[in-house]
């Protein structure tokens, strides 16, 4: 991961993706959480890594990251999240 963006190799499909920095972090968190995580949890953990300026801003970044990651099928939404 580099400043502002990162690259990810999807072992499942062999594809390479350019992702935003928040997406890269969200992906890393999800990898470590076998049971998945809710938006709020992700917001908390992401906020803990950067200076927690605005909780709402962080949550927004999380939501955008999840949209990006779902679009390229690196994560999927489970029921009840």
């Amino acid at each position: 991961m580099w400043e502002g963006s990162g690259v990810v190799f999807d072992r499942r499909t062999g594809d390479t993706h350019l992702v935003s920095a928040p997406s890269q972090v969200v992906l890393a968190i999800l990898r470590d959480s076998p049971l998945g995580a809710t938006d709020a949890e992700l917001g908390r953990r992401l906020g803990g890594m950067v200076s927690p300026e605005d909780e709402e801003q962080v949550l927004e970044a999380v939501r955008e990251a999840l949209i990006e990651l779902q679009r390229i099928r690196l994560v999927e939404q489970l029921e009840g999240d």
Binding site: R12, T13, G14
Partner: protein, 368 residues
């Protein structure tokens, strides 16, 4: 020279540069360079090879490793698509990879091959189509030919990744002269370790299929590589109890005694494959008449050499052509054979189309 090296890897110590030159070229043309790299690595001989050839082997080794990962990936994606519809039974290269066979290392191949029961064929076809696998043959004649005379569909290609898939519905053509009991072989399939829903043929059946593929098919471009597979299967599974004892009886049971005979004979003759005492003579139940055997020896010894000018004699192209015709003869009745071969010849010449002027366009390579 390549066959001697494959039969005994130690023979490379002491090769001079001009010998290496020939071996690398033969190996590359036989699609066995990665295999050669694996063998030299396994024997710990890589450091003693001169720099020139060694660099080619290192590159080929990497190609082999990357290929293995890609095969696994493609197979698992295929499994996702087929889950619930039919069990995924792998054949040939993909099977060797998932069965953990040493012969899979460094084995390059272009297509995935799977086997599905005839009654599930339509369902499998539609599931695959939804997953982006489209037919590569838009030609009615080929479609009919494949469905009627062959034991597989025309190749499918994955629309975004480009992978080619051959869907077999029988071990050998159902209308051919040699009829294998495909159902019996499918019923004896074994699950792959740790991968739910994935199957391969039982060891003896895997060997028999490999033999059938080589000695019934006409495509001998990869003949030596396929013989190397047979050699690998015999060496690996030969160490398992019961394998040698089951070989001939099973071959007779499923109707593949003839290909088994050829497989054992030529693997031993060309690659020095160790055959258990007594099995070779038992396998003679599948032998052809003496004159046929003499002819086949002449043809196959040439056709199974690397497809390279340094290892051919004047007879080699003829030998290959004769075996190509034989394969079709085994597959269809005579009057149709003539029509098919004529058509094939005509269509081929239609394909000599001019490329546009400018940067060279690569020829498409089947099974690079």
């Amino acid at each position: 020279m390549l066959t001697k090296v494959l039969a005994d890897i130690q023979s490379i110590t002491g090769f001079d540069e001009s010998q290496w030159d020939v071996v690398v070229r033969q190996a590359r043309s036989a699609v066995l360079l990665s295999r050669l790299a694996s063998l030299t690595k396994a024997a710990g001989l890589l450091p003693v090879i001169p720099e020139g050839p060694r660099r080619h082997l290192e590159s080929a080794a990497r190609a082999g490793a990357a290929h293995g990962l890609s095969v696994r990936r493609e197979t698992l994606l295929l499994l996702e698509s087929m889950r619930g519809v039919a069990p995924l039974l792998l054949l040939k290269g993909a099977a060797y990879e998932f069965a953990g066979l040493p012969t899979a290392e460094g084995r390059l191949f272009g297509d995935l091959d799977i086997l599905v029961p005839r009654d599930k064929l339509e369902e499998v076809e539609s599931v695959l189509m939804r997953a982006g696998w489209v037919t590569t043959s838009h030609n009615d004649y080929d479609q009919r030919y494949y469905r009627r005379w062959m034991h597989e569909l025309p190749p499918l290609q994955q629309i975004s990744r480009g992978t080619i898939l051959d869907v077999h519905h029988a071990i050998s053509p159902p209308t051919g002269r040699i009829r294998a009991d495909s159902k019996a072989m499918m019923d004896s399939a074994v699950p792959v370790d740790k991968v739910d829903g994935l199957y391969v043929l039982a060891p003896v059946d895997m060997l028999l299929h490999s033999a059938t593929h080589l000695f019934q098919e006409g495509e001998l471009d990869h003949g030596l590589r396929d013989l190397v597979d047979i050699d690998g299967l015999l060496r690996h599974y030969g160490a398992r109890p019961g394998f040698w004892d089951q070989l001939v009886p099973r071959a007779q049971e499923v109707g593949l005694a003839r290909p088994l005979f050829y497989a054992l004979r030529y693997a031993a003759m060309i690659l020095d494959t160790p055959i258990r005492q007594g099995v070779m003579s038992a396998a003679k139940v599948g032998a052809p008449t003496r004159p046929t055997q003499a002819l086949m020896d002449f043809l196959y010894v040439r056709a199974l050499r690397p497809n390279h000018p340094t290892s051919s004699d004047g007879w080699t192209p003829v030998a290959r052509w004769i075996l190509y015709v034989r394969a079709h003869w085994l597959r269809m009745p005579l009057p149709l054979l003539a029509y098919h071969l004529t058509r094939k010849a005509l269509v081929k010449s239609d394909r000599q189309v001019e490329a546009p002027v400018g940067q060279p366009d690569e020829r498409p390579a089947r099974e690079a």
